[in-house]
């Protein structure tokens, strides 16, 4: 039996049925690219395990055969992160799709990797709980989002989705299984990763390069009874950022986001068009949730006061009145509409990429101006600077990202978009921002600028956990 056949047979034995394994190029092709401009690269096998034990056996096999393994849940990461750089086994985790527990007394849920945003939303809502829903596709994995520092509608109040992690079960690249956080001490206790050493960090933000997370505990906050969506505009990002910084000090917003004029168009204009004269360049919204009417009133009062006070100082920030329908979209997440990429790439034609970053808010303006220069002046085909900023909990920092649609069927235009995105990432990293879920080209740029000690540590950890370098090789650009 040749190697290919042997691996196929062993994988079939591990998952109990040939139905859950394929080495057919027809199946593998459907895992070879995503919505970004990343060139297609096929895995050699696709396997769909159902249990952590099956994951363990697959990883042991991969080590024995020295073939790469790429964890995959829905492949919507906007970074080519599930495109196998070196072929190998694509481990599709969608059959591990159980919500194992929703503990209302302690307020946590335990989920498997294949649980989708839509599935989780449905179950949590029934019980009056919520999660930091991203504006990503409803079919995407909650777990993959959380372990990769995903951002959602509660990042102003509770921080990144990775802050919600209370524990995890992980299969190490060499096949050993372990628990992190409180369940490491007692299996049914999923309240917090602390006060233990944060070993969950070894498997968080690592793009599937350090192991396969097979269970995840998440804190689930309740859905408050009252909500107000405050909307506002400013003539420029300087004024908008000043407002966001000032208002975020109160920690009243679950979500505090602003978008440039081009992103507020649905869909994003492709290619670039001029903003009409007089239209404010930035518009924004904040979701103010409250448990009592009084609490809500207070939040609204402060929101209005901050706008008024800044206005007196000459800031162009203004409260606006937008139709209820468009306000709804701010809380109705996960959303089929935004998740379907309708807003983002409908006009562009199928392709979407962006440098999504965590950047200190006092650098937003500088970076945005450089991005505008790249997108509207330097690019061969001018593109819309469709930019979003969101303030997170904690320091005055947050998301700064420029959504870049492109047509999939016109290689020159695709290359133009790819050039813009890469250039945008470079100026951003130079300014101190850091791209999240970085595709390989961003990772290279990050590593070029990174502290050598940090690079050494990441290499040492990778060598320790994954001596044969089988886990999603090539991502993070270090090994």
């Amino acid at each position: 039996m040749d190697k290919k056949e042997r691996i196929y047979k062993t994988l079939s034995q591990i998952v109990g049925d040939e139905k859950w394994v394929s080495n057919s190029p027809v199946d593998c092709w459907a895992y070879s690219y995503d919505m970004t401009y990343k060139r297609p690269q096929m895995p050699n096998y696709v396997v769909l395990p159902k249990t952590p034990e099956e994951v363990q056996s697959i990883l042991r096999l991969a080590n024995a055969e020295k073939i790469p393994v790429v964890p995959f849940t829905a492949g919507t990461n906007i970074g080519g992160l599930c495109v196998p750089e070196q072929g190998g086994i694509l481990m599709d985790l969608k059959r591990m799709d159980q919500i194992l527990e929703i503990n209302e007394e302690v307020r946590f849920a335990v989920i498997e990797p294949g649980v989708s945003q839509a599935q989780f939303a449905q179950e949590l809502f029934k019980r009056g709980y919520r999660f930091g829903w991203p504006v990503g596709p409803p079919s995407a994995s909650v777990l993959a989002c959380a372990i990769h520092h995903g951002i959602g509608g509660m990042s102003g109040r509770y921080g990144l989705n990775s802050n919600h992690i209370t524990g995890m079960e992980v299969v190490r690249p060499t096949g050993e299984i372990l628990m992190c956080g409180s369940p490491a001490i007692r299996r049914d206790s999923w309240q917090s990763c602390m006060p233990l050493p944060r070993f969950d960090g070894l498997f968080t933000g690592t793009l599937g390069t350090t192991g396969v997370v097979t269970k995840l505990g998440l804190f689930i906050p309740p859905v408050p009874d009252y909500v107000h969506i405050g909307t506002f505009t400013a003539d420029d990002l300087t004024d908008m950022e000043k407002f966001m910084r000032t208002f975020s000090k109160y920690e009243y917003s679950d979500d505090l986001t602003a978008i440039s004029w081009w992103l507020s168009q649905v869909p994003i204009p492709y290619p670039y068009i001029e903003k009409p004269k007089g239209a404010p360049e930035w518009s924004g919204y904040t979701t103010l949730w409250a448990f009592t009417e009084k609490e809500l009133e207070n939040k609204i009062e402060v929101f209005n006061k901050v706008i008024k006070d800044l206005g007196k100082q000459g800031n162009t920030i203004k409260a606006t009145d937008v139709p209820e329908e468009s306000k709804k979209g701010r809380t109705q997440l996960p959303s089929q509409i935004v998740g379907s990429t309708k807003n983002y790439c409908k006009m562009g034609g199928g392709g979407i990429a962006w440098p999504g970053t965590f950047t200190p808010s006092n650098r937003w303006v500088g970076v945005y101006n450089l991005w505008k220069e790249i997108y509207t002046k330097k690019a061969k085909i001018a593109l819309s600077p469709s930019t979003r900023v969101t303030m997170y909990r904690g320091c005055h920092y947050g998301m700064l990202r420029i959504m870049t649609p492109f047509p999939r069927d016109r290689p020159e235009e695709e290359a133009n978009a790819a050039w813009c995105v890469r250039e945008a990432a470079k100026v951003l990293i130079d300014a101190g921002g850091i791209p999240y879920k970085p595709p390989t080209d961003f990772a290279r740029e990050i590593n070029k600028r990174a502290d050598p000690g940090w690079i050494d540590l990441i290499c040492d950890i990778k060598d320790m956990l994954d001596p044969n370098g089988i886990m999603n090789p090539g991502k993070w650009g270090v090994r």
């Binding site: 919507t76 596709p137 079919s139 997440l333 409908k346 199928g350």
Partner: protein, 425 residues
């Protein structure tokens, strides 16, 4: 005859716009409350992303057109045939997609089949067998053409002329004759001046079209259209969702063949009667749910597309400007006194296919049966429901098979049978 079919390259302008977002893999709506359900029978059965939703089909389109896989290799041919021909072409994925690819999804899947058939990579063995039967005997069941109207032996005062012609279709004629008889009974009870085509009714062509054939169904279409037009019928009614789609939409869409008669599904005909106050129905005590046949529901959605870019941009999907037949059959069902109607979780655009369509019942019977079982279980989960009502003989057959395989007490009946039961003599 010239036709309006487009080739795969033409469709590539739309499937290339698929962003690979995966929204077509399940049916989700924010609500509130948020609802989430499976939508793709093929994906649910095979689980690999190469089978899930219209997303997978756009991957395969690239693979085929750009030679990303070696389609001269027999093993790859087999795999490609499996991924393309095991889809029920139910359009569940189409209902979820919001990009410009949306309006074209089902037509495109069938064109992929056609493309493969032209290269000898299809049809499936099972399809080949039934296709030969359709060509020879004008039905896919291997029955003789002359026995097509055996069910009519019991029907009194039968005519082959009149204002209205009842197009029975193959499934009702050969396999679900109780549905054909109920239809005849309802038309007679309502005093309609109706007739049948008798020996002149040929298969509508749906089983061939769904499998990617082009010339053979055209012959059937031409025959049926000529006969109906030549005989001066004013209305064609059919109780079959598949025939309804083909007669009312596809003869003209693909071959420009215009029926002079108005095509109506029996549920439309009954709703019209109801509106005129001409439908007097007796009590039929039962708690029922309704299953939307794909061919009557979402396949009949009409999509506004801006081909010239006058409103939006070239080739953009604007909106669904006319929905399929969702409310009409429900209105008829709800009008029957004694009927307690309860909706299944997945309904209308988000309905879960019965599993029989797209040639699956013969080519991939396991997929068809599992899908039917899933749907029957869903109905079982609705409190008190005793019957699944659906206006399509093919759905009745497959859901019935599903109920049987489950050992379920759930009854599956055609809407027209319930109406027949309820109609005063």
């Amino acid at each position: 005859m010239p036709n309006n079919f487009k080739d795969l390259k033409w469709y590539s302008q739309f499937f290339r716009k698929c962003s690979k977002c995966g929204t077509c893999k399940s049916a989700y709506s924010y609500g509130p409350p948020p609802t989430n359900a499976t939508i793709c029978p093929q994906g649910e059965y095979f689980k690999l992303d190469s089978y899930y939703g219209s997303r997978s089909k756009s991957f395969h389109g690239h693979a085929i057109l750009e030679n990303k896989v070696d389609l001269t290799d027999p093993a790859i041919q087999e795999d490609m045939q499996k991924v393309i021909f095991s889809c029920t072409v139910c359009g569940g994925c189409q209902s979820q997609c919001l990009l410009d690819y949306k309006p074209w999804i089902c037509d495109y899947i069938e064109e992929m089949r056609h493309h493969l058939v032209n290269r000898g990579i299809g049809p499936t063995k099972a399809e080949k067998i039934y296709q030969e039967k359709v060509i020879k005997d004008h039905n896919p069941y291997g029955e003789t053409h002359s026995s097509r109207f055996n069910w009519l032996k019991d029907v009194k005062d039968l005519k082959t002329d009149g204002n209205m012609v009842y197009f029975a279709g193959c499934t009702a004629s050969y396999r679900r004759t109780e549905i054909a008889k109920s239809t005849a009974s309802v038309l007679s009870k309502l005093g309609e001046d109706w007739g049948v085509m008798g020996e002149n009714e040929y298969c509508c062509g749906s089983p061939l079209l769904r499998a990617g054939l082009r010339e053979e169904p055209e012959k059937l279409a031409q025959h049926n259209v000529d006969y109906i037009n030549d005989h001066g019928f004013k209305t064609v009614v059919t109780a079959c969702a598949g025939c309804y789609k083909v007669l009312s939409k596809e003869y003209e869409k693909w071959w420009g063949l215009k029926l002079k008669a108005k095509v109506m599904h029996t549920s439309e005909y009954l709703e019209e009667k109801m509106k005129k106050g001409e439908l007097k129905l007796n009590n039929v005590p039962a708690t029922v749910t309704y299953h939307d046949p794909c061919h009557m529901g979402r396949h009949m959605n009409h999509y506004e597309v801006d081909m010239e870019g006058k409103k939006q941009w070239k080739g953009s999907f604007v909106q669904i400007d006319k929905p399929g037949l969702y409310e009409t059959p429900r209105n008829v069902l709800k009008a029957i006194p004694g009927i307690q109607f309860k909706e299944m979780y997945r309904n209308r655009d988000n309905s879960f296919c019965c599993g029989a369509g797209g040639g699956i019942k013969s080519s991939f019977p396991d997929v068809a049966l599992e899908t039917a079982k899933t749907r029957v279980k869903e109905a079982e989960g609705v409190e008190g429901v005793q019957k699944i009502v659906t206006p399509c003989p093919f759905c009745v057959t497959n859901l019935g098979d599903g109920a049987k395989a489950l050992g379920s007490k759930m009854e599956v009946v055609d809407l027209i049978q319930l109406v027949d039961q309820a109609l005063k003599k």
